[in-house]
């Protein structure tokens, strides 16, 4: 039934439900046929730290207050999705500060952030956690470190490409493209909903687009030129 | 004049009770700021005689900072109000002399505002850097030379004989 999500074997726990969310740091009973005695080592060696990573993240505009974090956990307590994360937002903050770049960028936490900004307005140290999550997402995409076929970065990528070329989003087409790329089976599982959309007249197959598409593409291309408006990198944006 | 090593120099007059104490607090809190400031302690900003400011500028300061208690908080009730009034007059005078307004600054900094010492000093150093050296001593030299020249001309006109003053005057 669960259309996507990695790992597929695990049922995500319910909010308030009995099972604890499985965490990379905890030794867990494995539901798979592997022997129960199998344990996992979770020590982090000094060599795994990418020195300066934390400072780089904190240098992103809006992320500087991370240095003040006192690990109170308000972010995790507030976050509606922390119960699904492999590292809670608080742990992400600690890992960033401690320069554990891989653990951070490979974590599903940054992709589960739904940008609801609850943590940001609740943080007693005025840390803009949502903005830090954005910075980490950008970094992960830049370094291609997100999990393969993990649907959220794929959505982000498909979304941006549709905007770049058409200027607007047609949600139904976007979702189709997403399902095609991330998980074919899911499209089938959603057929009932598709019928519903058609019935209520909301299934739009005509792509929305703006008139000045070339103009928009040029505009966006300028940002790739770093300091100068260099149209050389244009083909990348096109 | 265009010394590449030029650094702005600020002479500051801080009142004993608020701003001087704030600067002490900045020290105790290890707040870092630009080293271009030289503080002279007075009991009250009301003691700042406009002549002090002119003297500082004339002797090579690029800017002057006066620090006092916030209005209403003066240790001596209202010394800072007097400073404010005097400062406004002085500003007008400086403008007439062609000295940029940013070079002379009056700030209210209370004893607890150590961080404000930093922000004011750093801000002022930045502004002075943008303005460049004031170079009053050089200007005074020019004016002196001009005056001397004029004097010589006048003297020459008065003594058409052209006879140089005898060295004997020295004796």
């Amino acid at each position: 039934m669960t259309p996507v999500a990695t790992p597929r074997t695990k049922t995500l726990p319910a909010e308030g439900g009995a099972p604890l969310p499985a965490r990379a740091t905890s030794v867990q009973a494995n539901p798979s046929p592997e022997p129960a005695t199998k344990v996992r080592r979770t020590i982090q060696y000094e060599s795994e730290r990418v020195k300066g990573f934390g400072r780089e993240v904190m240098a992103v505009p809006g992320c500087d207050q991370l240095v003040r974090c006192i690990q109170c956990g308000t972010c995790s307590g507030t976050c509606p999705l922390s119960v699904y994360m492999d590292h809670s937002p608080r742990q992400i903050m600690a890992l960033v500060r401690a320069d554990f770049k891989d653990a951070v960028l490979r974590s599903n936490s940054i992709w589960l952030c739904a940008s609801c900004y609850a943590c940001t307005v609740e943080c007693p140290r005025e840390i803009r956690i949502t903005d830090i999550m954005y910075a980490l997402k950008q970094r992960a995409i830049k370094e291609r470190m997100f999990p393969r076929r993990f649907p959220i970065p794929v959505l982000a990528r498909e979304f941006t490409s549709m905007v770049r070329t058409k200027g607007r989003i047609t949600e139904t087409l976007l979702v189709m493209r997403l399902f095609m790329k991330a998980n074919l089976g899911a499209v089938l599982s959603s057929w009932r909903q598709g019928i519903g959309l058609i019935r209520t007249g909301r299934f739009v197959l005509r792509q929305e687009r703006i008139e000045h598409r070339a103009e928009l593409a040029t505009m966006l291309a300028t940002t790739d030129g770093r300091s100068e408006p260099a149209p050389k990198h244009n083909q990348e944006a096109a | 004049m265009d010394d590449p090593n030029w650094q702005p120099r600020i002479v500051a007059f801080f009142c004993n009770w608020c701003t001087y104490t704030a600067a002490d607090l900045a020290g105790v809190s290890r707040i870092k700021y630009a080293p271009n400031i030289r503080v002279i302690r007075l009991m009250c900003s009301g003691r700042v005689d406009p002549q002090f400011i002119l003297a500082a500028l004339a002797q090579g300061a690029d800017g002057v900072l006066i620090g006092g208690c916030h209005i209403g908080d003066c240790h001596y009730s209202e010394g800072n109000l007097k400073t404010l009034r005097r400062f406004q007059l002085l500003k007008r005078m400086l403008r007439d002399m062609g000295i940029e307004e940013q070079r002379v600054r009056l700030e209210w900094i209370s004893a607890s505002e150590g961080d404000k010492v930093r922000s004011v000093v750093d801000d002022m150093v930045g502004q002075l850097r943008a303005l460049g050296p004031l170079g009053m001593p050089k200007r005074f030299e020019d004016w002196d030379r001009e005056l001397n020249g004029l004097e010589a001309e006048v003297n020459a006109a008065q003594e058409p004989a052209g006879g140089a003053k005898p060295e004997a005057v020295h004796a």
Partner: protein
Amino acid sequence: MIYSYFPGCSLKGLGRAYEESLLPVMRHLGVELVELEDWNCCGATAYMSVDERKACVLAARNLAIAEKAGPHDLVTPCSACYLVLNKTKHQLHESEPMRATVQRALGTAGLTYGGNTPVRHPLDVLVHDVGLDVVKEKVVRPLKGLKVAPYYGCQVVRPYATFDDAWNPTTMDRLLTALGAEVVDYPLKTKCCGASLTGTLPEAGLRLTYILLKEAIRRGADVVATICPLCQFNLDAYHDKLAKRWGAVRIPTVYITQLMGLAFGLPAEELGLNRCFVPMKPLPAAPEPARA
């Protein structure tokens, strides 16, 4: 009252019922919404995850077009658009380099960003510009006896709560009261609905939806009122899945503007109410529509 109007992509697609009800209701109140010419997608949260500078340029293009269009406030009904446009304004205000990047990009199309156009939400306009008294005057069919759970969602009140309280917003509550409806005490009114995840990680996204709907029913609500196209779709479209996974939580979710239209006596079919998966029950003892 004239406002520039940025509908955003959703209002042309899944959320078209929002636009279908917003425009006639606003017109009925004497508010004219002039759609921006050739507006583009605001970038939403997705673009922000990929490239912050491009995201800023995207949003700024719309702001620049709005500035060019005239000195009107810009109204945008979608929460994500509202947040992104406001966030972009903040970013451009805070960061000098970002402003330079954006201006350069806009310059290629002869546009410029001046930062003078306030970005407003219809709720803000309705309560603070139009006024509840005017709304009340237009009510011909008070929603008496209708129990409504006011659901604000996240991005309108957070993090830039300018027109309402971030923790306990009340503008929609007051608007509903003005319509004659009974407002249910709904402590989840600003919780995230998980919309950005239902498409990608349904387990997580739907769970949030389920909690919201379950609590609305537990509080005795007949209907949930929303102000965001994503929230509405999310709360409305997945009832089959929800029922299968955790149990039925069948309750209609409509836009506040649809309820306003009903109260103003506008015909239900013209308010896009037929587009709901879970249909709203007709109002009891509906008199003839007021409009000729």
